[in-house]
C-alpha cells in the first residue's frame, strides 16, 4: 500500500507525468523503427546518429548557437548522415556496420575536439556526459516538448501503418522489391529521415544511451518469441512500452537514474524472452 501512496504522491508533479508520457511515446516510436533497423543490420544506428548529433551540436556551438536554436544545424546534418547510411542498402561496398562505426566515432571525436577548443562552459565533461547519457533530462521536460513528442509519435505511427507493407518488402528483400518496381530508394530515404528525426529528438529528451537501447532490445526480445513480421512488430511495441513504464516507475520509487533503469529493465526482459523462447521451443 505504501508504494501506491508514494506513487500517487509523485504523480501530483507534472514533471513525473510528462516523463511517463514522453517515455512511453518514444518507446513506441523507437520499437517500431527498431524492427526494420535491427533486421536491416543497422542496430547501432541509434548510437551512431546520436554521436553525429553530438558532433553537430558542437559545430552549432562554434557558431554561437545555443540549446534553443541549434536544431537548425543538428537536424539537417543528422538527417543527411542517416540518409547516407541507409539509402545505399544492400549493394554498398563498405558494409553498414563499418560505415556506422566510422561515422559514429568520427563525429564523436570531432565534436569533443570542437567543444574543447571553443567551449565557454566550466564543466566540459559534465556537459558531454549529460548530452550522451541524458542523465536527468527526461525529468526536466517542458510542456511544449511533451506536445512535440505527442505530435511526432502520432506521425511516426501513421507513417508506419501506412507504409507497413512497403517497409516489410524493402526490409526483407530490397533487390526483389526494386526489380518488381517498388521505389526502394524513396522508402529507404523516408525510413532514414524518420529515424534521424526520432533519434535527434529522443536524444535531447532521454539521452543517446537510452535511444539505442529502445531501438535494439524490444525487437530482439520479440524475435525470441514470435515468428512473423507482424507479431514481432506488435510484440516489440508492447514490450517496449511495458519496460519504459516499469523503468520509470522503479526509478521514481528507488531514486535511480531514469535512462539506465529503463535499459536495465529492457535487458532483463530480453533474458526473460530468451528463456521463454527456449522453453517454448522457438528460440
Amino acid at each position: 500500500m505504501e508504494i501506491f501512496n508514494k506513487l500517487a504522491y509523485y504523480m501530483q508533479f507534472p514533471f513525473v507525468r510528462y516523463a511517463l508520457i514522453v517515455g512511453v511515446l518514444i518507446s513506441v516510436c523507437a520499437s517500431l523503427l527498431g524492427v526494420t533497423l535491427v533486421l536491416k543490420r543497422f542496430s547501432y544506428i541509434g548510437d551512431g546518429l546520436s554521436h553525429v548529433a553530438f558532433g553537430a551540436m558542437s559545430i552549432a556551438g562554434v557558431f554561437g548557437l545555443t540549446n534553443d536554436n541549434n536544431m537548425v544545424v543538428i537536424l539537417p546534418i543528422t538527417v543527411v548522415c542517416a540518409v547516407f547510411l541507409l539509402r545505399a542498402g544492400q549493394n554498398r561496398k563498405i558494409k553498414g556496420d563499418a560505415m556506422i562505426a566510422m561515422i559514429s566515432v568520427g563525429a564523436l571525436a570531432l565534436g569533443y575536439l570542437l567543444m574543447n577548443l571553443f567551449t565557454t562552459s566550466s564543466n566540459l565533461s559534465g556537459d558531454v556526459c549529460s548530452t550522451l547519457f541524458g542523465s536527468t533530462s527526461i525529468l526536466t521536460l517542458k510542456k511544449g516538448e511533451v506536445y512535440l513528442s505527442v505530435v511526432l509519435s502520432i506521425l511516426v505511427v501513421i507513417f508506419f501503418v501506412v507504409f507497413y507493407n512497403k517497409i516489410f518488402a524493402v526490409t526483407f528483400d530490397e533487390n526483389f522489391a526494386k526489380a518488381t518496381g517498388t521505389k526502394v530508394n524513396v522508402y529507404n530515404t523516408l525510413i532514414a529521415v524518420v529515424t534521424a528525426v526520432i533519434i535527434v529528438l529522443a536524444m535531447n529528451l532521454v539521452g543517446s544511451l537510452l535511444i539505442s537501447a529502445l531501438i535494439i532490445f524490444p525487437t530482439l526480445s520479440a524475435m525470441r518469441l514470435f515468428k512473423s513480421f507482424k507479431s514481432v512488430t506488435i510484440c516489440s511495441v508492447i514490450i517496449s512500452v511495458f519496460c519504459a513504464l516499469t523503468g520509470i516507475l522503479i526509478s521514481i520509487l528507488a531514486g535511480t537514474p531514469v535512462g539506465s533503469t529503463i535499459v536495465a529493465v529492457d535487458a532483463f526482459a530480453f533474458f526473460a524472452c530468451l528463456i521463454a523462447g527456449k522453453v517454448g521451443g522457438r528460440g
Binding site: L39, N91, F168, A179, T180, K227, S228, S231
Partner: protein, 238 residues
C-alpha cells in the same frame, strides 16, 4: 517484339567493364540458361537485367509487356537467414507492384497469393516461419512470391544451390512445368548438364561468348569445351 533484346551490351560494376558485346534475345515462352564459370559476370548480367545496376554500354530493350514486370528468384541473402516472417507475409509481398500506392493488400491480391501458395504446395505452411523451412520449401515460397509479381517472365539466380539431389530434380521439374504453362524462364546456373537437359536457348558468358539454341551450343566449340570441363569436374567430385 521479343520480351528482351540485348544489343552490344556491356556490363560491369562502378563503371568498370567486365564483359562487352553481349547479344541475345528472349522471346515469349523461351527457356534461357545463362551459363559460365563462377566469377565471369553471370550475376552482374542478372542485376543489369533487373535494373539493379546500370548497363555500362550498349542497349537493352524490354517490350512494354514485361517492362517492370519481371519476377525474380534471388539467392538467399544474409538478412533473410534469421528474418522473422511468415510464409504468407513473404508471398504477399510479391503483390507490391500490383498495389501501387495503396497501403494495404486487397482481397484480389490475397487471392492471388493463396492461389500461388497452393500451386507450389506451400499453402499448408502459410503460418510457418520462413527461416524454419527446409531449403526446398524456402525456394518454393520465393517462387510463389515471384509468381505474384508476374506470370510472364521469371529470372532465377542459381535456384538449386544448397539443395540435395532429390529436391534439386523436383525444383528443375517444377520450373520446367512453369515454362510449359507459358512462363518465360531465364535461369542463371553453372550446372551445364541441367542446362543441356532443360533449356531451349543458352547464353554462355566468359572469355568466349555464345548465344544460340541448345543444339547450336552442343555443336559449338565453346559448348563442347565447357561441357567436357564441367563433366570432368563433376566426375572428379564424385
Amino acid at each position: 517484339m521479343p520480351y528482351i533484346t540485348a544489343n552490344n551490351l556491356s556490363i560491369g560494376y562502378d563503371g568498370k567493364e567486365i564483359i562487352e558485346n553481349i547479344n541475345f534475345t528472349v522471346n515469349k515462352g523461351d527457356y534461357l540458361y545463362i551459363v559460365g564459370e563462377n566469377g565471369t559476370g553471370k550475376s552482374t548480367l542478372m542485376k543489369t537485367l533487373l535494373g539493379l545496376i546500370p548497363a555500362i554500354g550498349g542497349k537493352m530493350e524490354f517490350s512494354p509487356e514485361v517492362k517492370n514486370e519481371i519476377g525474380y528468384l534471388p539467392q538467399q541473402t544474409e538478412v533473410q537467414k534469421d528474418f522473422p516472417a511468415s510464409v504468407e507475409e513473404i508471398v504477399l509481398s510479391g503483390c507490391q507492384r500490383r498495389m501501387g500506392f495503396l497501403p494495404f493488400y486487397t482481397k484480389a491480391e490475397k487471392a492471388i497469393a493463396y492461389e500461388n501458395m497452393d500451386y507450389l504446395h506451400v499453402l499448408e505452411l502459410k503460418n510457418k516461419c520462413y527461416r524454419e523451412l527446409s531449403g526446398g520449401q524456402q525456394q518454393r515460397v520465393l517462387l510463389a512470391r515471384a509468381l505474384c509479381a508476374t506470370k510472364k517472365i521469371l529470372l532465377l539466380d542459381e535456384p538449386v544451390t544448397g539443395l540435395d539431389p532429390k529436391v534439386t530434380i523436383e525444383m528443375y521439374e517444377l520450373i520446367k512445368r512453369l515454362n510449359d504453362e507459358g512462363i518465360t524462364i531465364i535461369m542463371i546456373s553453372h550446372d551445364v548438364k541441367a542446362a543441356v537437359k532443360y533449356a531451349d536457348h543458352i547464353l554462355h558468358i566468359g572469355s568466349k561468348l555464345f548465344f544460340g539454341t541448345k543444339d547450336e551450343y552442343l555443336n559449338s566449340k565453346v559448348g563442347k569445351n565447357f561441357l567436357a570441363m564441367e563433366g570432368d569436374e563433376q566426375d572428379g567430385n564424385i
